[in-house]
């Protein structure tokens, strides 16, 4: 009989901890939000279940924990720690991203740059809250509203915070529809929100093919630290636009990105075991993340208003909020906010421009931090 008892000791019974219980609860909440509320389910469901996998209380030495070298989860986790899961996801995103909205109205790219102010303010804020430089940089990138970028940068600069940062980033990305509208309303007048932007002519296939090549050389030439992200993003986009490598692009945006998304989500979730995740640091990170999202949104909107001061044909400041990337959620939020004022005002196409520009912007920001800190 005591054999049975001994056995139970290796599991939940013998290693019970309220910390793990809390994490299990959080995991279930993530899964619930993903399934019932449709908040980014492709991310929240894997991460949520990963939290369950990573927080089952157990005695060490069974070679199952994600931090036990050689365990299955540990092997799969290497794609996160070495940073190539995010790169491959960027490859897939590039193969499914259509930059033409951005190409047909280049000036909107600047909105994508403005929104990155959230990154650098959060960076400063993290320093003030007492985080060391590298950690501060990794936390700041949450303001980029870009999961893969955040995971990649923290894997390079602050691996021990990876779980907290990734969870914060994805949570707020899922909450974009909740966070952004009030801020947009606050900073814009009804008159501004009613501005209609005239549709811009589409660009030709040639430009869409030239863009990834030229943009990559520009970005990488100035911020080489971003190569691991932008190299794959623009490569995927070239595969998509070239027209002669469609079968590669198709696989990149389906089988490949799906497989990596499954493993990335599961591992990121599993990496958040209570002892590492339930810390004051995580609380600060969650706080800073919320701030950075708000700042980024505000920066985008305000910069749009600034541009209107000089621009001949006005920009609807709402789409400034799309600069935080979180593709395509924030673009859709802009559409919704705009439609609430005038249901026949179709901002979504315009909003896609700063939206995808924001992805490039935060990758460049990550590159800046990398080239400053890694060596």
């Amino acid at each position: 009989m005591d054999v049975l008892w001994d056995f139970l000791q290796v599991g939940l019974v013998g290693n019970f901890s309220w910390g793990n219980m809390t994490m299990l609860a959080i995991g279930c909440i993530f899964i619930y939000l993903g399934i019932a509320k449709d908040y980014e389910p492709l991310l929240l469901v894997p991460i949520g279940f990963g939290m369950l996998v990573g927080n089952i209380p157990l005695s060490p030495g069974m070679n199952v924990g994600i931090y036990e070298t050689g365990s299955v989860l540990n092997v799969l986790y290497s794609g996160v720690t070495q940073g190539w899961y995010p790169s491959l996801i960027f490859l897939g995103i590039g193969a499914m991203t259509d930059f033409s909205a951005m190409l047909s109205n280049p000036r909107l790219i600047l909105l994508g740059a403005a929104a990155q102010a959230g990154i650098f303010l959060t960076f400063a804020g993290s320093l003030l809250l007492g985080f060391p430089e590298r950690e501060a940089a990794a936390i700041g990138i949450i303001g980029g509203a870009d999961g893969p970028t955040a995971i990649f940068l923290s894997s390079q600069l602050a691996p021990h915070l990876l779980g907290a940062i990734a969870v914060a980033a994805y949570s707020y990305m899922a909450l974009v529809p909740v966070i952004q509208p009030p801020i947009i309303k606050l900073l814009t007048s009804r008159k501004e929100r009613l501005i209609r932007m005239k549709p811009s002519r589409p660009v030709s296939k040639r430009v869409r093919i030239l863009f990834p090549v030229v943009a990559f050389i520009l970005c990488a030439g100035i911020a080489p630290g971003a190569i691991s992200l932008l190299g794959f993003l623009f490569f995927g986009n070239l595969l998509k636009e070239s027209g002669v490598t469609e079968r590669l692009a198709k696989t990149a945006r389906n089988a490949l990105i799906d497989i990596v998304t499954i493993l990335l989500g599961l591992c990121v979730g599993a990496s958040t075991d209570a002892s590492r995740f339930l810390t004051p640091a995580s609380l600060k990170i969650a706080l800073l993340g919320a701030v950075s999202f708000c700042v980024a949104t505000a920066a985008g909107v305000l910069f749009a208003k600034l541009m209107n001061v000089f621009a001949k044909d006005k920009i609807n400041p709402i789409i400034g909020a799309a600069g935080v990337s979180a593709v395509p959620d924030s673009a859709r939020v802009c559409q919704m906010v705009g439609a609430r004022e005038d249901p026949t005002n179709f901002l979504i196409m315009h909003a896609m421009a700063p939206n995808v520009a924001g992805v490039i912007g935060s990758a460049v920001a990550a590159g800046v931090f990398l080239s400053r800190f890694v060596f």
């Binding site: 908040y39 033409s100 179709f346």
Partner: protein, 119 residues
Amino acid sequence: MKGTITPEMGALAVSGLVIVFCVLALIAGVVAVFKRLDDHWQEQERQNEAKALDKAPTIDDTTLLLITAACATVVAGRFKVRRIRRLLSPQTKRTPWSAQGRLILQGSHTVQRSGKKKW
């Protein structure tokens, strides 16, 4: 060469089977409880389904807006599309608007091109 079963190992063999039994019995129990609650839920579900059927012919907002946008830009008129037959598979309907947006807005060209060519 001949081997023997130490008491310890014997205990493991027995307790192992017992554990497997307990675990699956536990699951069986929990599932049984769920089934009780389920009867209540199923009722709801049937109602939801009924509602869903009414909704079925309409499509999700994103697409609606996109198509409206396309139409609007084409005929340059200021009307609002009220109702559109859903041609997408129920599957796509179930996917979250975010993912769906990702596919519709970026993955496929058709919608946008058809739009743009006209502009």
